[in-house]
Symmetry: D2
Subunit: 305 residues, 4 copies
């Protein structure tokens, strides 16, 4: 039974993502999965490193807040980890109350500060008289309602179900199209089979020379490989060097990607491979197939022209 | 008198940065400055757009948490804004208590969740019995002490001074070398004079074609211009297009930078210029001077060889 | 009076080109020109260097035989020379005979071997019984007829006129579209004014590192400058280094060209500028104008957005 | 028995090269070779196409006169041909006379005009009173002596031996270091095995877009492949398109070369492969081995990190 660590307590968006990943059959290996709530994302990834869990389900990118740096930092340093699947969830909160309560009863609303910022307009319009009190997490906001510390909570549909709460509203968010991408992380292993709509993720470490990054990206661009994300981070370990997180469409078993990986391996101080896995919602051009060029080359080698 | 908007209330790190910018003479135009506390970073930038303030002082990058996306998003869209100065502050909290209290009195500690995460080890070692209660901001943690909602607060030295609190410890942070970079933002105007150690910041918008970003970065790299930051963000306005935030060493009055800007203007769908200003702590190579090449070209044109 | 050296004797294609250049007003400076026949192309160029002539008219490229290496080598080494004009002539021979003779009288045909190769099919069809005897030059073939060493000569219309000979046929050549490009060479001086359809020629010397030439050509390509010729030549002076002859469309007073020249000056061991001059028959894209980008940059510098 | 066509008559430099190629065992297939003199280089290559010969030995490049265009043009168009070997000979003439004659007897010297230009200084110093009379080829200059049309001939050591002539001097040439490179050309077949010091030659056809050639050369440069020759030629077939002759160090069985060939095949309108064969005198850097990168990639695919 695969133990899957995640940011608890039960009822977080991360647990909702984990449940979907299991339901969609995206956990490598057959058999049931056991969720393992931990108190931080780095702790969940560390549990994979120590063997306390087979996988961790962690957020990696949010369309409003950007990259989830604790996840990225934990992937970038330490023993190698690998991503095996991804899942993108719309961000949408549930406003939870004790069973039997309604909006008129709400004087205080518990909310994780990040969530509070994402539902500010909704609260101003629908619960104008209520005071926001900070909660420790989205699931914690539900527990605050359970424990009577607040009349309502900005939480998740999953938490409402887990803790037996009613919801004043579901799918609440000021900014539509807010989404969080979660990834399933394990120890290095053969990546899932190429599907033709895959993502590969790398961390490149290189000396900060003018033109160095452009040259590295050219290894992808010249091979028709489509970048979907890039982000620089100064390294803490060595002054004046940077790491670059780079995502692109393609699989290590795409010939163009394999070529590019080898070229980057030669060019960069270090290439950390974070995995190749099926994309959740395809966007970006697939790397060109080189089959025709391979056949042409074979004919050259055989003298068959 | 220049009104300078910032994320209030009084006592935040942002106000501390603002005070330093004023003291260092980095506010364009002579005369005194009037701090204007507002309740969010986007609100501070919007005040500049509406004319309610001449400038805003906002965080843009944190070495632990990465880019401050509300700042970046506000710079990227809407009426043009421009950066005129920067200041980097070490992140270091003060643990504040009411005057006359000491560690033995502390049962509860108010902390903004982000701050709580950055002092977790310190609290576990030095205040092991205390419960963390969430605060609305770093300055709010001090107010929680003032108002008796908590025995101690994870706050700033400035807030302690403002609110007449004592400090159990200053310079508290688990991860040394944590730093936040703040920028001074105003409406478009001639940039500060070139100093030879300047930073220029751009937002590039382009179609997401394989190789497009590599080609754009080559316009910088081939001219010997040293990238110090790059970050992609999907645009919300148009599916399949990205914006790239790019920082590099150099000033619009460096000839190599002027050339590169013009080339990017031709190559990209849009180049949003966010300003050129003196760097706070120099890092990265200055763009090459082209004076010798200019003289050579002049000789060619005069037929003097 | 400008003395213009050329490969004599009178009656060569080169003299025909020279006459056209004078007639078209392409000789810098007003006033009449004095042709100065010399016995080789290098001798004509050397006469410019010594001051024995103001200009030399020399062939530089032939569509059948390729580059004229003695011209290129003389331009590449020694005191700097500069090209001021070009003229492209169709290669077309005149078959000359003594006045009153016709094809039936022809038993022998004098021909410079290069010319013989270009009219082989014509001779086989029209003068099948005649023996080819080698001549020292195209003009020399006419002199061989004058002096009775051959019944006919493969020569030029100009030579026929000069030496009072009749022609059996004009415009004779096996391969249509054969053309020779001639250039007018002088000592360094301000180039002719930009016309919007100009050619610039360079000799680049650089270390033979993998990627070095590609990087140099990228300085042209990225600026939208259109290469019309490239040719590598090993240098005789230093083992393992190459020179590259590069022609492109544009003038040193095109801003994109000026930028590219400066970039090459920084990148290459040596850039020898061979001039900018109006093209004879326009082919290739003109460099992009940067006026709009210049205005945009000026607005950035003024804060006017 | 392999028939090998060459530019006759017997005694040319080309025949000397052919004899050396045979002696050095560079003719593919075992067994004796039969030289087949023809009257031009294109005729020799055409004989290979028709099957009248198995191979042709032809000059391709001369360090003084540059590329041998009839050879290049014949390789570039028509049914595919392939190069299997190369040989570089120093250019050095023999001054031939009838047996028993010496310098004092020489009033006239037969010389192919190209050869005459290369020994001009020598003749001026050593046979100052002699008149140069044009010969049809280097071997023809020897026949002119045999037939009494001239007292001496600028010819080859091989021709002297073939025609029973004496030599006044051997190794005669004004410009030392003059060399001609000859190649052995056949119909397409598997190339000779990789030796680690090989040359590959291509003809690239592409639309004449700014930056197109730079991008194509980048496919070589970025893979660490060392260009040893490049030459553009306007195509006769289609206005505004060019072909580029490109030579580089490496073999189709070098992984970096195979990658680059496939990339060029995708990028160019046409890539004509002219073969991979051992270089005669190594110059230029061997392509990087990718074995280590291959092993790294294998480990990624196996999850073995």
């Amino acid at each position: 039974m695969a133990r899957i660590a995640y940011l608890g307590p039960a009822g977080t968006f991360t647990e909702a993502a984990l449940i979907r990943l299991v339901a969609d059959g995206l956990i490598p290996g057959a058999g049931p999965a056991e969720p393992l709530p931990l108190d931080s994302t780095p702790a969940a990834l560390e549990a994979v490193r120590t063997g306390a869990a087979e996988f961790a389900c962690v957020p990696i990118e949010n369309s409003i807040e950007g990259s989830v740096l604790p996840t990225m930092d934990a992937l970038e340093a330490g023993a190698p980890l690998q991503i095996f699947a991804e899942l993108t969830l719309d961000v949408a909160f549930s406003i939870v109350v004790a069973a039997g309560r309604d909006a008129a009863d709400v004087r205080s609303v518990a909310a994780f500060p990040v969530a509070a910022a994402q539902v500010r307009r909704w609260l101003a319009e629908r619960l104008p008289g209520a005071t926001v009190v900070p909660a420790i997490s989205n699931a914690g906001a539900a527990l605050d309602v359970v424990d009577g510390r607040a009349d309502a909570g900005v939480s998740t549909a999953l938490a409402a179900a887990r803790y037996g709460l009613a919801t004043l509203a579901d799918g609440v968010v000021d900014e539509p199209n807010a989404r969080t991408r979660f990834v399933l992380v394990g120890r290095p292993a053969p990546p899932p089979a190429r599907t033709g709509a895959d993502r590969t993720s790398l961390v490149l470490r290189m000396a900060n020379e003018p033109g160095g990054l452009a040259a590295a990206l050219s290894e992808l661009g010249m091979r028709g490989i489509d970048l979907t994300r890039i982000e620089s981070r100064p390294t803490r370990r060595q002054l004046g060097t940077y790491v670059f997180f780079v995502d692109f469409i393609g699989h290590v078993d795409d010939e163009a990607v394999a070529e590019a990986l080898k070229a980057l391996h030669r060019r960069c101080a270090e290439v950390r491979y974070l995995g190749s896995w099926p994309v959740d919602n395809p966007a970006g051009a697939t790397p060109p197939r080189l089959d025709e060029a391979d056949r042409w080359l074979d004919r050259l080698r055989r003298g068959d022209r």
